[in-house]
């Protein structure tokens, strides 16, 4: 336990081992563990008893799933583009940088979990809970950015092309992640509705839905 806490701290500080060979597995493990823990707490909004326990379980599975599957879907094309621009030799280090940023995201999330629980204890408003979690995720993404930029600084110093690729990664990840988050809803679970692992209308498209909402506002 203490060793893992130490590791988590080192990820945030950007210690050297996180960029060395063999760092990938512990980084991924950290990311998955912290994301699972935050997910479980995220799902406690509607309570813990009875069938609400399923929401806790569902959220605990969904948050790490969101991080891992999004990364897995974006990696093949990122790999090929890295190869094409001639940065294949750095790819292992790139992979560790990406894993470190995911771990950073999950660690910051978990560190904010008590605040989320306090929020849940103070307000029973479902919409506010969603917005608050949005804020928490945005904060955690900021933390992940810090970790990622630091890990990439070394790579960029070696070859400036990494800067463009970092932007490409962020673009890809956000593009896929947004849809992934949309598909995996609900993360919190509306207490007024029965527990459902996935929304009946989950097979929608985040971009089309949001675009339609904007379009309806503009065209009105």
């Amino acid at each position: 336990m203490r060793a893992w806490l130490l590791r988590a701290e080192e990820v945030l500080r950007g210690e050297l081992w996180t960029t060395r060979p063999g760092a990938l597995a512990p980084l991924v493990a950290l990311a998955v563990f912290c994301a699972t823990a935050y997910g479980a707490m995220m799902g406690t909004f509607g309570g813990l008893t009875g069938e609400r326990a399923f929401q806790v379980l569902g959220s605990a599975l969904k948050v790490p799933l969101l991080l891992v599957v999004t990364a897995l879907l974006s990696l093949p094309s990122f790999f090929v583009v890295n190869t094409l621009v001639g940065l294949r030799d750095d790819f292992r280090e790139v992979l560790r940088a990406l894993a470190a940023s995911q771990a950073g995201l999950a660690i910051v999330l978990l560190s904010l979990a008590p605040v989320t629980l306090l929020w849940y204890a103070s307000s029973g408003d479902y919409r506010q809970a969603i917005l608050f979690n949005g804020l928490i995720f945005a904060t955690a993404s900021g933390g992940a950015q810090v970790v990622l930029q630091r890990a990439y600084a070394r790579l960029i110093a070696r070859d400036r092309k990494h800067r463009g690729l970092l932007r490409l990664w962020l673009g890809l990840y956000v593009f896929v992640g947004t849809e992934m988050a949309w598909v995996l809803r609900p993360f919190i679970g509306n207490p007024d509705q029965p527990v459902e692992l996935f929304r009946a209308d989950s097979l929608g498209n985040a971009y089309v839905e949001v675009g339609r909402m904007i379009w309806e506002q503009v065209a009105r």
Binding site: P76, V80, V81, L203, N205, G211
Partner: protein, 261 residues
């Protein structure tokens, strides 16, 4: 078979098209191998594309999946067949020494690069295809993905052509040396899609090659239109081909306008 994939890997890394590897005036890769690999990868992308039809509203269409898996490789190689004669003629006109075999190798290599990028984007396309009900969104996503991979493949083609003409220069001939590209300076081994420092193509040659790339892109897009449907409109029954009407660019424009409608 692993050797063929290794050939593709050498292409992507830029090892097969390093200026010193092109001394003999051709890319040293096995054409049948690359053909095989690119057909497999194109079929993989076709499956990703066709997966929309499998999960769409109003019943799955497995035939569409099969059709897409067949059509995507066909798209690339039919485009090659349509454009190759004019490519070769213009190439000979501008006085390049590339023979038909070397040229064919080059274009097949470019297609392999395109298809590799395409297949690597396949998981994302499949994810959106399965998860989304909006036909137009999937359509436009596919257009963007194909444009990206086509663009990268054509950049590879253009830069390899430049390197090949540099390799030819060792046999002599008048050249117009251009200023050194700053971004490529200081790197001994340029990647597969970067221009080599010191452009050494004469202007007309470069213009002809640019026209080539443009022709290849436009023919490819229209070929895709002729071979449609790839994704499969959920409101229409499955057909192998649609009637002759309209063109690619008009259709993309309409999809864009109606995305949120």
């Amino acid at each position: 078979m692993i050797r063929w994939f290794a050939d593709l890997d050498r292409l992507l890394r830029g090892e097969a098209t390093r200026p010193d590897a092109l001394r003999r005036g051709t890319i040293e890769v096995s054409v049948p191998g690359l053909l095989f690999v690119s057909i497999v990868l194109a079929a993989v992308y076709g499956v990703c594309m066709g997966s929309y039809a499998l999960f769409r509203e109003g019943g799955p269409s497995g035939t569409q999946l099969v059709a897409s898996a067949v059509k995507v490789p066909a798209l690339f190689y039919l485009t090659l067949v349509v454009t190759f004669p004019s490519l070769y003629v213009s190439n000979a006109l501008v006085g390049s020494r590339l023979g038909p075999i070397a040229l064919l190798r080059l274009v097949v290599a470019a297609i392999a690069v395109m298809v590799a990028v395409l297949a690597s984007l396949g998981p994302i396309v499949a994810f959106f295809s399965v998860m989304t009900t909006s036909y137009r969104f999937v359509l436009l996503l596919n257009v963007v993905v194909c444009a990206v991979s086509g663009g990268l493949g054509l950049r590879f083609l253009l830069n390899t052509l430049q390197r090949l003409s540099m390799a030819e220069l060792h046999t002599g001939g008048p050249v117009e040396v251009e200023p050194i590209d700053e971004s490529a300076a200081g790197r001994p081994a340029p990647s597969a899609i970067e221009p080599v420092k010191g452009q050494v193509m004469t202007r007309p040659v470069r213009l002809i090659f640019r026209c080539w790339v443009f022709l290849f892109g436009v023919v490819g897009a229209q070929m895709a239109w002729v071979l449609r449907p790839f994704v499969g409109d959920p409101n229409q029954p499955f057909t192998w081909f649609r009637p002759r009407q309209s063109n690619f660019f008009e259709a993309v424009w309409h999809s864009l306008l109606n995305l949120f409608g």
